[in-house]
Symmetry: C2
Subunit: 158 residues, 2 copies
């Protein structure tokens, strides 16, 4: 089971956009150079965050990307869901109903599969952790990063 690499990109970008919120939109060229990421593909992933209402993008010569909401109102779960999709990692194919195993199990099969239920509960625990923290938490987590980001961005843009 593997989570896409762009989740790390998306979270770092959200935190950075949070720190640069008063600087106006940040162009994809600068964001990609910021973390040394492939520009075109990063753009495509950030578009998913726009569709999810997490980011805003504006065209034009002064355009770019910015947070659509205050960082306190964007959970890490929001970002992960936008980038990885809302489907659960474990998808029950109900193989218990197939083949010989499925013969003659009447009322028993009306009840949900115990395995699927357990996997769902485990995933809920995971989601709960991610939903309990916001971009603002991550921003506060490294105050030195905030200052350094603003300074480096000034160098870059000025």
């Amino acid at each position: 089971m593997r989570m896409g690499e762009s989740v790390e990109w998306g979270l770092h970008c959200c935190v950075t956009l949070g720190w640069l919120r008063d600087q106006g939109p940040v162009s994809i060229r600068r964001l990609a150079a910021w973390f040394d990421l492939p520009q075109e593909y990063l753009k495509k992933r950030l578009q998913a965050l726009v569709r999810a209402g997490i980011l805003t993008s504006s065209p034009g010569v002064r355009g770019g990307w910015s947070l659509a909401r205050p960082p306190e109102q964007i959970t890490v779960m929001d970002v992960v869901t936008a980038l990885e999709g809302a489907e659960e990692a474990f998808r029950c194919a109900e193989i218990r109903l197939r083949g010989e195993s499925g013969r003659g199990g009447g009322a028993e099969f009306a009840r949900p599969c115990g395995i699927a239920g357990l996997m769902r509960r485990a995933e809920l625990a995971w989601r709960r952790e991610l939903a309990a923290h916001t971009i603002a938490d991550l921003m506060e987590g490294s105050p030195a990063g905030a200052e350094r980001t603003r300074r480096n961005y000034q160098d870059m843009t000025g």
Copy 2:
């Protein structure tokens, strides 16, 4: 993020082998027919469970597969780890160190990344749930399934 379909296969097979524990080894042909699964690929996945010490396989005309330990001593986490690998779903590539973002962050970068830490804690919560339940729990979860499995298996083998 997607979990392989064979996790469902492996868990159902372990539960079934737990129910048929006093019947001796079960051949791959019967296991595959049991759930209507591709026989050769199922075999390959169960071999991963053998390497992890969860199952035992014996060659020969009366050979087949059986649990290597009592079902109370096999956690769901064991099975998932054997089939999906021990690596975490989120792998931090430390993009914060690259590009402009990495310039001049001395002592700050010695500390672990807050994003990676949060993802790790979330995954720990997930693993904790899976490690808290065993194959025996799943077996007890559907007593009707146990009886029906034994009966259908008798029909199949007799």
